[in-house]
Structure formats: structure tokens, C-alpha cells
């Protein structure tokens, strides 16, 4: 009984010593986290004001991103969303610093890996954003050009252009994140190559009579039948 009691006392002593050693780190971590929350809030406010001042919402609107985000359920102005993102990133950074202040070896190792991986996440996010912007821009350009050329399937082709660009961006982002690098590339190559081959076959074999009809119609139109001769200028 005496040994057990002594053992318990010793363990209690070790726990107490460790707690005493840990508590200052914990309080430092807590303070850091609280300071981080305050700074995140302040930064969010400053970023929101700055974005409003430089009218960043108009830029996003003109690039068509607002419309895409709204379709995805994000209804708040982009400036607000960006300010929130900055705010949360600040919270995340301070949370990581706070965890680091605890000096727990396992957490240190995980954090080191996390920090090494973080640039990949940002790069992937940027690639996705660029894909979104470019996809929207080119989809709109395709839509307008095809409508002005009188192509009935303009909407469908424009959507296809947007999806193609976005799929390309997603593939690049996944590659950046090192997720299924080879399988993603192979899948993309198979899908892309398959689509091109299918289109080539459709145009070359299946749609031959339609294309012949279409081309002869266009050539006839080119000869002036049914055309306007209004001079616009």
C-alpha cells in the first residue's frame, strides 16, 4: 500500500510539475490567440474599407465573378467575402503560432508539415480563381460571338467553353496540391482526348450530311440570297 501511495504521490508530483511548466505556455498561447482574434477583426475591417475605397466589387462584377459566385450561393459582395477570408486567415495564422507556443513535439511536427504545404494550397486557390475568371470571360466572349454569328447552340457551346477551362484549372490545382497527381493527369488526358476524338468522329463521319447541308446553305447565303444589303454607317 505504501508503495502504491508513494507511486501515486510521485505521479501527482510529476503531473503537477508538468502542469506548472505547461501553464505559462498555455497562457501565452491563449493570449496570442486572443490577440490574433483582435488583429483579425481589425485587419478584416481595414481590408473591407480599402476594397470598398478602390471599388473592388465593380472589378469582380465586370469580370463576371460576382455572377458565378452568386450562382454558387455566395450572395454577399466580393469585398465582404475577401475581408472575411483575410480575417479567417489571420485567425488561422495566430492559432498556429499559439499552438507552436505550447511546445508540444507532435504538434510542432504537424505544424512544420502544414506550413510547408500551405504555399501549395494558396497556389491551388489562385489557379482555381484564375480558372473561374478566365472561364467566365471566354465563355461570355464565345457566347456573344456565336450569337452574333447566328449560331443557335451558342449557349451550350459557351457553357462548354466555361466547363472546359474550369476542368483544366481544377486539374492544375490538384496537380499543385499533389493529390492523385498521375491519375488526375491521366484522367484529364483521357477525357480531353476522348472529347476531341468524339468531336472529330462526329464531324467526320456521323454529321457529314448535316455539315454538307450547312456548308452549302452558307455558300448560298454568301451568294446573296436572303441577305440584307443595309449599309449600317
Amino acid at each position: 500500500m505504501h508503495d502504491i501511495g508513494e507511486g501515486m504521490m510521485e505521479m501527482g508530483g510529476v503531473f503537477y510539475r508538468r502542469l506548472i511548466e505547461f501553464l505559462p505556455n498555455f497562457f501565452v498561447a491563449l493570449v496570442l490567440f486572443l490577440v490574433g482574434l483582435a488583429i483579425a477583426r481589425l485587419l478584416g475591417f481595414i481590408v473591407l474599407r480599402t476594397f470598398k475605397a478602390v471599388n473592388v466589387d465593380r472589378f469582380w462584377e465586370s469580370a463576371g465573378i460576382r455572377e458565378v459566385l452568386a450562382r454558387g450561393g455566395v450572395r454577399r459582395p466580393v469585398s465582404v467575402e475577401l475581408a472575411r477570408l483575410v480575417s479567417w486567415l489571420t485567425v488561422l495564422v495566430f492559432a498556429v503560432i499559439a499552438l507552436n507556443a505550447l511546445h508540444i513535439p507532435v504538434i510542432d511536427t504537424v505544424l512544420a508539415r502544414f506550413f510547408l504545404y500551405l504555399p501549395n494550397v494558396f497556389a491551388a486557390l489562385l489557379i482555381l480563381l484564375a480558372g473561374l475568371v478566365l472561364g467566365n470571360f471566354f465563355s461570355r466572349a464565345v457566347l456573344i460571338t456565336l450569337v452574333n454569328s447566328g449560331v443557335r447552340e451558342a449557349g451550350l457551346l459557351a457553357r462548354a467553353a466555361r466547363v472546359a477551362i474550369f476542368v483544366f484549372a481544377v486539374t492544375m490545382a490538384l496537380e499543385q496540391l499533389d493529390i492523385g497527381k498521375i491519375s488526375v493527369l491521366i484522367a484529364f488526358a483521357i477525357i480531353f482526348g476522348g472529347v476531341v476524338l468524339a468531336l472529330a468522329l462526329a464531324f467526320g463521319v456521323a454529321a457529314r450530311p448535316y455539315i454538307r447541308e450547312y456548308l452549302s446553305k452558307r455558300i448560298e447565303e454568301g451568294k446573296g440570297e436572303g441577305d440584307d444589303h443595309i449599309e449600317p454607317l
Binding site: E67, R140, A158, D228, E231
Partner: protein, 427 residues
């Protein structure tokens, strides 16, 4: 000749000529069928109306592949000082440099006119079939005899010709700047040496739409907005080769209307102050002249408009607002008998487009090109409305549209100045 666009051989020719009183420029691109006639007619006009003046005919060509410059040179050569009984008319044929388009050709002509110190100039298109020697006198006379700086053309045209002019540029220019210049983008115009120097001093415009189809609206608007003395001359019928079908209507619309919208930015202080329009002095005798018939495919136009309304409605909503687009969608479902786009609504569409371009709501090229099918719809509506009308009745309807533009101008001024969404449509 620093920062100039004249090629070495053209500069050499300018040095040979030294000074000239009058310069007539002819921008060309693949106009082999008409260039000889145009140059010959200009030469006759110069000989008849300015026998004592030293004149230069300039052909600024955009690298034609059909031998246009080779045909222009001999036609002009008949008028050199060496030919017996002919006045001192010199000719220069030079390829222009810069962005391919009429504007770059005009820039070359302006530079040459300034280098030879011309006091009066004119530009005529190379595809004209109805040009007469009188055109030279009518475009240059108001400058040399009456002290005007800019002479706009006034033509008799088919009621369906010049649809961008009639439905957008004329009403807009008139409402904005207060001068009733009937053909602000006619293509042929006269101007003083003073104005030529002013045009050339604007070095930042030659890389924009002004270098292409935007040149005509730019020369007219700049002359009016900068307070130069402006008049117009009745030239008779304008019959010319049909524009290159390869040039898409949407591109034309983008360049012309885009240039007009850019000018609204440049001269915002001027057009906001202009209250009502006034007529400008007209030279020449306005009379009936023969015009060519125009083929119109109304069902085809309506079909194009319907496709636009179906596919571009969301985009139009960003530019024009929900109420207008809901009207346009309804319009798209109507048959030919009921198809009508009223003047008030069309005016608001143009004004809202200008404001959206000003606010950079979407990329400007997308904005203007997306309006092409809408413009086709308006043209179809106009053709249906005026089918049985004669030229005078059609002119009255265009006048009514101009008044709608003038009446709604306060809406444009207010919307332009507001930094928020355009207020809901009242139509």
C-alpha cells in the same frame, strides 16, 4: 518629322512638293474597282474649282492586294504640273502605317497635309461610285470661302441605309453636343489646316477604335466639342460599294459606338452643359437625286434578335436593367405585325449602355458587341414601322427619335453622375 507615320518615300515626295494649298485624301483598301474613278473625279474637281491653287491628292492605302495603288497613281498622274493645260495637281500614293483601318489612313493624310502647310483639306472614300467634281467644291469651299473649320457631308440615302447613323450616332451626337449634323459618320468630310493640326496633336487616340471605323465619329465630335466652326454640304446621293462582308456588324458597332462612348468620357464637361440642339449651316442645293434600292430581310433580322434575347438576356440585364430586358423578351415572342421597339425605350437602351460603359460594368467590347442583336431588332422594328413611308416621312420619324434623345438627356446626365445603380426604368 519626328514621331510621324509617313514612310521615307512619302517624306521625300513631301520635300519635293514643298508647299500646297489644298490636300484631298483618299483612304483605300482593295478598291481597284472604284479608285480610278474617284481619283479622276477629285482631280477634275480641283481643276474646276481651284485652278490657281497648288493641290495634292493623297492615296493612303492599307496594303491592298488587288492593285489599288497601281490604279490610283495613273489616274492622278493626268493632273501633274507637267501635263499641258492642267493645273499644278500633285499626287502621292503611299501605304499607311499603324493599326489597319481608315483612321490610320486619315492620320497619314493629316500628317501630310500639315507637312505641306495646306489651308484646306478633304477626305473622300475610295469606294464611291456617285462622287462628282462638285463634291470637291462643296467639301472645301466652306473652308476656303466662308471660314468654316469642318464640313460634314449631307447625302440623300435610301431610307434603310445608314442605320447606325440614323438610330444611334446622329440622335446621340445631336442630343449630346447640340449640333444637328445629319451625317456625323458620313465618311467624306472637309476641314481647315488649323483643324488638321489640332487633330494631329491628339496623339493618344490612334491606337484606339479611332484608328478604324471610329475615325468618322471622332473627327465630327472633336470639331464640335472643341468649338470649331462646323457646317454641312449637300453632296447628293451616296452610292458606293457594299462594305466588306467579312467585317462583322458587331465589330463595326463596337468601333463606332465605342468611339462615341469614349468621346463622352473625353467631353463629359461639354455635353453635360449643352441644353438643346441647333441646326448648322448647309451648303449646296438639297434636291432629289437617284438612289439605289436596298434589300431587307426582316424575318431574318427578327430571328437574330430572338436568338439574342434568348441567349444574352442575363448579360443585357446587367447593362440595361430587369424591366427593359423583360420588355425585350416579350418583344421577341411577338410576330412581325406587333413587333415594335419604341423610340423612348431605344433611347433608354443607348443611354444605359453609355452609362454601363462609363461605369465599366462589364468589359466594353463585350458590352457593345452584345448589343448587336438588339440593334438588329431595332432596325427590324424601324423597317416594319416605315415600310410604307416615303423619304420625308422616314426623316420625320428620325427627327422624332432625336427629340426623344434630347428629352431623355437629363436622365443620362443624372445616371452618369450617380455612383450607384441606374434608377429603375420608367418606360
Amino acid at each position: 518629322m519626328k514621331d510621324g507615320v509617313l514612310r521615307e518615300e512619302a517624306q521625300e515626295r513631301v520635300r519635293e512638293i514643298g508647299h500646297a494649298d489644298i490636300v484631298v485624301g483618299i483612304p483605300s483598301y482593295n478598291n481597284a474597282g472604284t479608285i480610278g474613278h474617284v481619283v479622276e473625279t477629285v482631280r477634275m474637281g480641283l481643276a474646276r474649282y481651284y485652278p490657281l491653287a497648288k493641290s495634292v491628292i493623297v492615296n493612303a492605302d492599307g496594303a491592298s492586294t488587288d492593285g489599288t495603288p497601281d490604279l490610283a497613281a495613273p489616274a492622278a498622274a493626268g493632273g501633274t504640273a507637267d501635263a499641258p493645260g492642267r493645273p499644278g495637281i500633285r499626287a502621292i500614293s503611299t501605304p499607311y502605317q499603324g493599326i489597319p483601318g481608315k483612321g490610320s489612313a486619315v492620320r497619314t493624310i493629316l500628317e501630310l497635309a500639315c507637312d505641306v502647310g495646306a489651308s484646306a483639306c478633304a477626305v473622300v472614300d475610295a469606294d464611291l461610285r456617285s462622287i462628282t467634281p462638285e463634291w470637291v467644291g462643296l467639301l472645301i469651299g466652306p473652308v476656303t470661302d466662308s471660314g468654316f473649320d469642318y464640313v460634314a457631308p449631307l447625302y440623300r440615302r435610301h431610307k434603310y441605309d445608314g442605320t447606325i447613323t440614323n438610330s444611334v450616332i446622329y440622335p446621340l451626337t445631336r442630343a449630346l453636343y447640340g449640333k444637328c449634323v445629319r451625317q456625323p459618320i458620313g465618311g467624306d468630310f472637309g476641314f481647315s489646316g488649323r483643324l488638321a493640326r489640332f487633330y494631329l496633336s491628339k496623339r493618344d487616340v490612334w491606337e484606339s477604335s479611332v484608328a478604324r471605323f471610329g475615325i468618322d465619329v471622332w473627327v465630327t465630335t472633336t470639331a464640335i466639342a472643341e468649338g470649331f466652326r462646323v457646317c454641312q454640304s449637300f453632296l447628293g446621293s451616296k452610292i458606293h460599294d457594299f462594305k466588306d462582308p467579312g467585317v462583322h456588324l458587331a465589330t463595326m458597332l463596337y468601333q463606332v459606338v465605342g468611339a462615341a462612348f469614349d468621346l463622352m468620357e473625353t467631353y463629359a464637361g461639354v455635353w453635360k452643359r449643352a441644353c438643346r440642339s441647333e441646326s448648322v449651316q448647309t451648303f449646296g442645293v438639297v434636291r432629289e437625286t437617284p438612289i439605289e434600292p436596298v434589300a431587307v430581310n426582316v424575318p431574318g433580322m427578327m430571328e437574330r434578335f430572338r436568338l439574342g434575347a434568348q441567349e444574352l438576356a442575363d448579360l443585357w440585364e446587367t447593362i440595361l436593367g430587369r424591366e427593359i430586358v423583360s420588355f425585350l423578351k416579350k418583344l421577341a415572342s411577338l410576330g412581325e405585325k406587333d413587333f415594335f421597339l419604341p423610340d423612348d425605350l431605344w433611347t433608354e437602351i443607348i443611354y444605359r449602355s453609355a452609362v454601363s460603359a462609363h461605369r465599366k460594368v462589364i468589359n466594353k467590347e463585350h458590352l457593345l458587341k452584345s448589343l448587336a442583336t438588339l440593334y438588329i431588332g431595332r432596325t427590324a422594328s424601324f423597317v416594319i414601322e416605315t415600310r410604307r413611308d416615303d423619304a420625308a416621312a422616314v426623316e420625320e420619324k428620325i427627327e422624332r427619335l432625336c427629340l426623344a434623345f434630347e428629352e431623355k438627356k437629363p436622365f443620362l446626365v443624372k445616371s452618369w453622375e450617380q455612383d450607384k445603380e441606374v434608377s429603375p426604368c420608367t418606360t
